[in-house]
C-alpha cells in the first residue's frame, strides 16, 4: 500500500495539485499490471517521508487517468516526472535507486 504521505493524482486534480503547486511535485506514472512499477513503489513511499513538507510526491494511475498520461506522451512506465512551477524539470524512465532520485530532487529544492 502507498504511504499516506503520497498524494493520489488524477485527470481532475492534476492542474491544481501539480501545475499550480508552490512546492516541486514528483509524479510517479504507474499501473497495476506493471511489475517494475510495483518494485519502484516502496522507494517512492520513502521519498514521500524524506521530503515531507518540501516536495509533494504523487502517484498517477495511467489506466484511470489517460488524459494526463497522454498530455505528457507517457508510453512507458514507471516514469517519474519532477514538476517545478508547472514545468517538467527532471524525468526518469524505468527503475532508479533512491540515491539517484534524491540527487535529482535535491537540485530543485
Amino acid at each position: 500500500m502507498a504511504s499516506e504521505k503520497v498524494q493520489t493524482l488524477t485527470d481532475t486534480n492534476f492542474d491544481d495539485s501539480v501545475i499550480k503547486a508552490n512546492n516541486p511535485v514528483l509524479v510517479d506514472f504507474w499501473a497495476e499490471w506493471c511489475g517494475p512499477c510495483r518494485r519502484l513503489a516502496p522507494t517512492v513511499d520513502e521519498l514521500a517521508t524524506d521530503y515531507d513538507g518540501r516536495v509533494v510526491i504523487g502517484k498517477l494511475n495511467v489506466d484511470e487517468n489517460p488524459n494526463v498520461a497522454f498530455r505528457y506522451s507517457i508510453r512507458g512506465i514507471p516514469t517519474l516526472l519532477l514538476f517545478k512551477g508547472g514545468q517538467i524539470v527532471e524525468q526518469v524512465v524505468g527503475l532508479a535507486d533512491k540515491d539517484a532520485l534524491k540527487k535529482l530532487i535535491d537540485k530543485h529544492v
Binding site: 518494485r39 506522451s73 507517457i74 508510453r75 512507458g76 512506465i77 516514469t79
Partner: protein
C-alpha cells in the same frame, strides 16, 4: 560479518541463496534494482523443467524467493554502490549500509542493450522501450517495431501482437538467431512483418517528444526507408552488469566475469553465477545451475578458511 553475500536476485542469485541457506551459511541477498532479474519482464516461461504447461516468469521468481527464505536466506532491498575485494573479508556497500563477508557470490546478471542512438535515449519512455510486458499496453491498435533477431525479440514481437495493429521485426541479418520453435511461432504470426538486413539509422521525432517513425538502412542494397511506427522495442541482447567490479576482478573484453574450475573468479572467495559470467547459454535454468555451483564452491572455500579469520571484526 556474513559468511556469504549474494549480489543479485535472479535465478542464479536465488538458487545460490537456496543452497547456501540449506548449508546453514545464512546468506544475505542484496536484491538490486532489477529485483528478480530478467524473468520479471517475461510472460510464460515454457522451458523451465517441471512445468509442462509453462509458468509465468514473475510467479517463478516469487516461488524461488519464498523457497530461499524458507531455509533462512535474508533478502534485502537495495542496490550495491561499491565493493572492495582487495582485502579479506570483503566489503559490500549499499546506499544505506556497509556489510562485510567472508565470501561473495556475484549474480548481477545482464541488462538490455541499447542501439546507442541519441534519439533512442531521448525517446525512451515516449515510444522507445526495452520491455514489452511493461509498455506494450500503450500501443493498442498502433503499428510498432521490434529490433532484434533472437529469442527475446521473437517473444516480444509475439506478445506485442496482442496490442499492436502490426509488429515489424527489424533485423540486421537475413536469418534469425532465435531458437527454431520461437522462429516458427513468429514467422507463422500474420500480424508480424519483417525487415531483413536492416539497421536502424534513426528514430523520429525528438522534436515532438514521441516516436512517429524510424529510418532503416538495408545493409545489402544500401537503400534507406522510413517506417511509420508509434513504438520501437529494442531487443538486441544484453550487457553484463559488471561496472561495480571493474579493475577488481578478471573480465573478458565484453565485460563478462571470467570463471574457472566451476564458478571461481580471479579473486579467491569471490564466485560468479548466471548471465554475468555466461554469454553462451543465458538460460534461466543454466543461471540457476551455476548459482547452485557457486553456493557449493563458496561452502568449500569457507570450510578451508582458518576459523579465526575475520571473526574478530564485526560488521558495521
Amino acid at each position: 560479518m556474513r559468511n556469504v553475500i549474494i549480489i543479485g536476485s535472479g535465478p542464479a542469485g536465488l538458487t545460490a541463496a537456496l543452497y547456501a541457506s540449506r548449508a546453514n551459511l545464512q546468506p544475505l541477498v542484496i536484491e538490486g534494482l532489477e529485483a528478480g532479474g530478467q524473468l520479471m519482464l517475461t510472460t510464460l516461461v515454457e522451458n523451465w523443467p517441471g512445468f509442462r504447461d509453462g509458468i509465468m516468469g514473475p510467479d517463478l521468481m516469487a516461488e524461488m524467493r519464498t523457497q530461499a527464505e524458507r531455509f533462512g536466506a535474508e533478502i534485502i532491498r537495495g542496490n550495491v554502490a561499491k565493493v572492495h575485494l582487495s582485502n579479506h573479508p570483503f566489503t559490500v556497500t549499499t546506499s544505506d549500509n556497509s556489510y562485510q563477508c567472508r565470501s561473495l557470490i556475484i549474480a548481477t546478471g545482464a541488462s538490455a542493450r541499447l542501439l546507442g542512438l541519441p534519439s533512442e535515449r531521448k525517446l525512451m519512455g515516449h515510444g522507445v522501450s526495452t520491455c514489452a510486458t511493461c509498455d506494450g499496453y500503450f500501443f493498442r491498435g498502433k503499428p510498432i517495431a521490434v529490433v532484434g533477431g533472437g529469442d527475446s525479440a521473437m517473444e516480444e514481437a509475439i506478445f506485442l501482437t496482442k496490442f499492436a495493429s502490426k509488429v515489424t521485426v527489424v533485423h540486421r541479418r537475413g536469418t534469425l538467431r532465435a531458437s527454431k520453435i520461437m522462429q516458427d511461432k513468429a514467422l507463422a504470426n500474420p500480424k508480424i512483418a519483417w525487415e531483413w538486413n536492416s539497421e536502424v539509422e534513426d528514430i523520429n521525432d525528438t522534436a515532438q517528444g514521441a516516436v512517429t517513425s524510424m529510418v532503416l538502412r538495408n545493409n545489402v542494397t544500401g537503400d534507406q526507408k522510413e517506417l511509420p511506427v508509434d513504438g520501437v522495442f529494442v531487443a538486441i541482447g544484453h550487457t553484463p552488469n559488471t561496472s561495480l567490479f571493474k579493475g577488481q576482478i578478471e573480465m573478458d573484453a565484453n565485460g563478462y566475469i571470467c570463471t574457472h574450475t566451476g564458478t571461481r573468479t580471479s579473486v579467491p572467495g569471490v564466485f560468479a553465477a548466471g548471465d554475468v559470467q555466461d554469454h553462451v547459454y543465458r538460460q534461466a535454468v543454466t543461471a540457476a545451475g551455476s548459482g547452485c555451483m557457486a553456493a557449493i564452491d563458496a561452502e568449500k572455500y569457507l570450510e578451508g578458511l582458518p576459523q579465526h579469520l575475520g571473526e574478530a571484526q564485526m560488521s558495521a
